[in-house]
């Protein structure tokens, strides 16, 4: 990590940042993950900037992408706190897509907080020391006699004070201190408190602009119809009726771009407004050649996955001796769990503006990965990635979808074709039918227990099309990396074997909020509940027993922290008094560790016949130090909503290679009338902060399933529990 005074650097002038005042840049060390491997250490490339203007305004440029998860509130709070700045004077700016300047910007995997917290604190602490040094210089007093507080520096002995704004230009001429000391956690004023959303005042007035809101002079509007089948092709096109509509400018065929985030291929209509483009697109007469995946049918595919996990599959990991363990067990329990495809469907559909000119290409997009846009467009346009300028806008939700930039690629194709800036907005139908989907999956577990319920052997088979198929379509099954959460599950299991069954992809598979934790959380936490009943144990004490049985020294922290959130949530949900509930009510528990964060949930339900009503949800979280209680609570409330939607109803169905769902009437996401009361309990373990954007989604479905079982004796093993028949 490097922190530098870049107030006078030339590149600031060309960067789009305002000049004047004190500007501090922060670079992060290169990170281990593959997508981050290209960080260039030879030159100074700040990942974030802290800019104190001479009028006192504090601008913080953040290279991570905001999509409602609150990163643009939490990280600046860390800066302001260390700097002793006034939060009211802080404005957060979304940085343009430029990894040379900001380092890795891909925002996913709930890592932003984890990676950037400490560096942002140091930047704030450095700025504070520089402001103090500047004041000391003006007053000709030793810096030790000065203090910073609430956007001023004070000299107690003489009673003098100067504002941060007055000091900014002087501080800009000073050296950055080498070892700024950080505040103690107890002294934080903003961090760890309830910080309001940075954008809230703009949002409630309709003033915050998203990708879909970009306007430029001369802007043209487009709508696209994709080939409904992955890998299919255009056979014939009759565009005469579409072209006859007043206001339609052109109809353009978009070829499939065989890159992970390139277009599926389709036909676009350009017009002088979005509505005309959409209306004309409906009049296109298109025949598609369905290609190799033209018979994909999720119902039969899922049945095949079940077969593949209910018979021996390819070995992934093994420890101890499962066969003997199962043979010697006093009881063997077997169960198969499945889950369907799901679609992200953020409220803001995919949209971007692209303007391709002879020697420039400019993009305005809600994106989680500006670098992917640069790479994809560079490959398509045969230009240098550096020459693709990406302006990152606020995203109206993303959940993993906006990591992929097929919609930006398509806008570039259209813009190039008509030689004008183009806004392409996907319809909801296209968003739902031609997206990147969470993997459909099957898992089969066989476990043997002794008379105390102790696990003697655990065989875990999975089959799901992996995200790796985006990059290598020939991948036939999930591999070791994709099973690592299974292999390293923190229950104490000595005799263990994991296997992976065949599961080729017939559509584009993509990261969805919480990713594989959705179905791993479901299988582990549902199955342990089944084991508890098989062993005649209280599920809570049985779960504690499973963690206690873990004597792998590398997993002690995981076991301990998992138990802590579990027991906290059980206490808060009044688990021990659950026999006082009416007969048709029940509480279910689940714990899941993912993205370095621990989450436990207790779901209380009432079951009447087929009807499941979720009454209340308690969540206990350990994400290390919490930066913003408001944001953390909001993330958990949102995770419950998303978890509940996918547990109960949402599923993407394919027939004849194409998605059958089309809009929110047949993809019934959760609505307000089903919203249970959610209580969030934070377990402060004092560890380093970790992310919360995703991990909350995983434990909901199994906790719900376990609750339904407790209330009614009915066990749900297939996600969603109540699919809509379409």
């Amino acid at each position: 990590m490097t922190i530098a005074n870049v107030s006078r650097r030339d590149f600031i002038k060309t960067s789009g940042l305002a000049t004047g005042g004190l500007i501090i840049g922060v670079t992060l060390p290169p990170m281990a993950s593959a997508s981050d491997a290209h960080v260039d250490n030879a030159t100074f490339n700040p990942n974030a900037f802290v800019h104190l203007q001479d009028n006192g305004d504090l601008l913080i440029y953040c290279g991570r992408c905001e999509m409602g998860q609150g990163i643009n509130t939490a990280l600046p709070a860390a800066v302001a706190d260390e700097m002793e700045a006034d939060w009211q004077r802080v404005t957060v700016r979304q940085a343009d897509g430029d990894e040379e300047k900001y380092g890795p910007q891909g925002t996913g995997g709930s890592r932003s907080i984890n990676i950037m917290f400490e560096p942002m604190r140091k930047a704030g602490a450095s700025a504070k020391l520089m402001l103090i040094a500047a004041a000391a210089k003006v007053w000709k007093v030793p810096p030790e006699e000065c203090q910073a507080e609430n956007h001023f520096v004070y000299h107690q002995p003489s009673g003098k004070k100067l504002s941060f704004g007055q000091l900014a230009n002087i501080a800009a001429t000073l050296e950055v201190p080498t070892k700024p000391t950080l505040k103690s956690v107890d002294d934080f004023k903003y961090v760890g408190k309830f910080i309001p959303n940075q954008n809230i005042h703009q949002i409630i007035k309709g003033e915050l602009t998203y990708g879909v809101d970009t306007k430029l002079p001369g802007l043209k509007y487009a709508s696209v119809v994709h080939c409904p089948v992955y890998g299919g092709k255009l056979k014939s096109l009759d565009k005469s009726e579409a072209l006859a509509i007043k206001g339609v400018l052109d109809v353009i065929v978009i070829e499939r771009l065989e890159m992970p985030f390139g277009s599926l291929g389709g036909v676009a209509v350009v017009a002088d407004n979005s509505w005309t483009a959409q209306k004309a697109a409906k009049l296109l007469k298109i025949e598609w050649e369905r290609g190799p995946h033209g018979s994909y049918d999720t119902k039969s595919y899922k049945a095949q996955l079940v077969k593949n996990v209910e018979s021996p599959a390819e070995l992934v990991s093994e420890r101890g001796d499962v066969t003997t363990g199962l043979k010697n067990a006093s009881k063997v329990v077997k169960a198969t769990y499945t889950g369907g495809h799901i679609a992200h469907s953020p409220m803001e559909p995919n949209a971007s503006v692209v303007w391709v000119q002879k020697d420039s290409c400019e993009v305005w997009a809600a994106t989680q990965a500006p670098k992917a846009i640069q790479d994809t467009l560079a490959a398509y346009l045969k230009r240098d990635a550096k020459d693709i300028l990406v302006h990152v806008t606020m995203a109206g939700g993303a959940f993993g979808r906006k990591f992929k930039c097929d919609y930006v690629h398509e806008a570039a194709v259209i813009s190039q074709h008509i030689n004008a800036p183009v806004q392409l907005t996907w319809t909801r139908e296209e968003d739902m039918r031609t997206g990147y989907y969470h993997s459909i999956s099957a898992q089969h577990i066989e476990a043997g227990i002794d008379e105390h319920g102790a696990i003697q052997g655990w065989l875990h088979r999975v089959a799901f099309p992996a995200i790796g198929t985006l990059f290598n379509p020939a991948q036939q099954r999930a591999g070791k990396g994709e099973l690592s959460a299974v292999d390293n599950y923190p229950y104490g299991i000595e005799n263990f074997r994991s296997e992976s069954g065949e599961a080729p992809a017939h559509t584009r598979i993509g990261w969805y909020r919480a990713v594989y934790a959705i179905f791993y959380g479901f299988s582990f936490s549902s199955f342990s509940d089944e084991l508890a009943y098989a062993a005649n144990k209280d599920p809570l004490s049985y779960l504690n027993q499973l963690y206690d049985a873990n004597n792998n020294p590398d997993q002690q922290e995981q076991a301990k922290r998992s138990k802590a959130v579990l027991n906290l949530v059980a206490e808060k949900a009044n688990w021990h008094n659950r026999d006082k509930l009416p007969k048709n009510q029940g509480i279910g528990l689940a714990v899941h560790f993912s993205f370095s964060t621990y989450v436990a949930m207790a779901v209380k339900v009432e079951v009447n016949g087929e009807d499941i009503k979720v009454l209340e949800v308690d969540c206990a979280i350990d994400c290390g130090q919490v930066l913003n209680i408001n944001g953390a609570t909001a993330q958990m409330e949102g995770a419950v909503v998303m978890g509940m939607g996918l547990a109960l109803r949402t599923e993407i169905t394919f027939r004849d290679g194409a998605v059958v769902n089309s809009n929110f009437h047949d993809y019934p996401v959760l609505r307000i009338n089903e919203m249970p009361k959610v209580n969030v309990h934070i377990h402060n373990s004092g560890h380093k902060p970790t992310g919360l954007g995703e991990p909350g989604v995983a434990p909901f479905a199994p906790a719900l399933g376990n609750a339904v079982y407790a209330a009614s004796g009915k066990r749900y093993r297939d996600l969603p529990f109540k699919p809509m028949s379409i």
């Binding site: 999509m67 409602g68 998860q69 609150g70 309830f194 309001p196 959303n197 954008n199 809230i200 005042h201 703009q202 949002i203 409630i204 007035k205 309709g206 003033e207 915050l208 602009t209 998203y210 879909v212 809101d213 306007k215 509007y221 007043k246 206001g247 407004n273 979005s274 509505w275 209306k279 953020p346 409220m347 803001e348 559909p349 606020m394 995203a395 109206g396 939700g397 993303a398 959940f399 319809t427 909801r428 408001n630 909001a634 409330e637 949102g638 995770a639 419950v640 909503v641 998303m642 809009n663 929110f664 009437h665 996401v669 959760l670 609505r671 307000i672 009338n673 919203m675 009361k677 959610v678």
Partner: protein
């Protein structure tokens, strides 16, 4: 016949194809983007505006049918963002990404006019047509209830 429409108190000619939904008239023709596109089919509520005070889905309302009518969008709900609902939204920190929130607030504003003293069930029923994928429902419920109390105080 005078083919014009009043939006947030200002008069605009309806000089587009009459089947264009109000949503796109606002967003693309007038470049007022506070009203959002979510589904285009009346299913999500993101595009909710008031037509003569009543919450309406702009994505399925052709602008040609609105000559002489008064439209209020989120930009025109209050002078300074100080409608009791907007204040309650801030006090309860409702938004996450914020995309659905204009529609939520506009829907709630019209609803509270019709039912100034709603029960929790009334709120659920009234707000059911507005989807929030970020999952801010718990805070919406609370904010609507608080705004109702506030409005009741203003009236009495």
């Amino acid at each position: 016949m005078d083919k014009s429409i009043i939006i947030n108190g200002e008069k605009y000619p309806i000089d587009v194809e009459s089947d264009m939904p109000l949503l796109w008239f606002l967003r693309d023709h007038l470049e007022k983007t506070g009203t959002k596109f979510g589904c285009g089919a009346g299913l999500c509520g993101a595009c909710t505006v008031h037509i003569d005070g009543v919450a309406t889905r702009a994505c399925i309302t052709p602008v040609g049918t609105l000559a002489g009518r008064a439209i209020t969008t989120i930009e025109g709900l209050s002078e300074n963002g100080d409608h009791p609902l907007q204040k309650a939204w801030v006090a309860n920190n409702v938004p996450q990404c914020g995309y659905c929130q204009a529609g939520q607030i506009m829907n709630a504003a019209s609803f509270l006019k019709q039912n100034p003293n709603p029960s929790a069930d009334d709120i659920d029923n009234a707000m059911q047509g507005n989807i929030c994928r970020c999952g801010t429902y718990q805070r919406i419920k609370k904010a609507v209830a608080e705004a109702a109390d506030e409005l009741a105080k203003e009236v009495s």
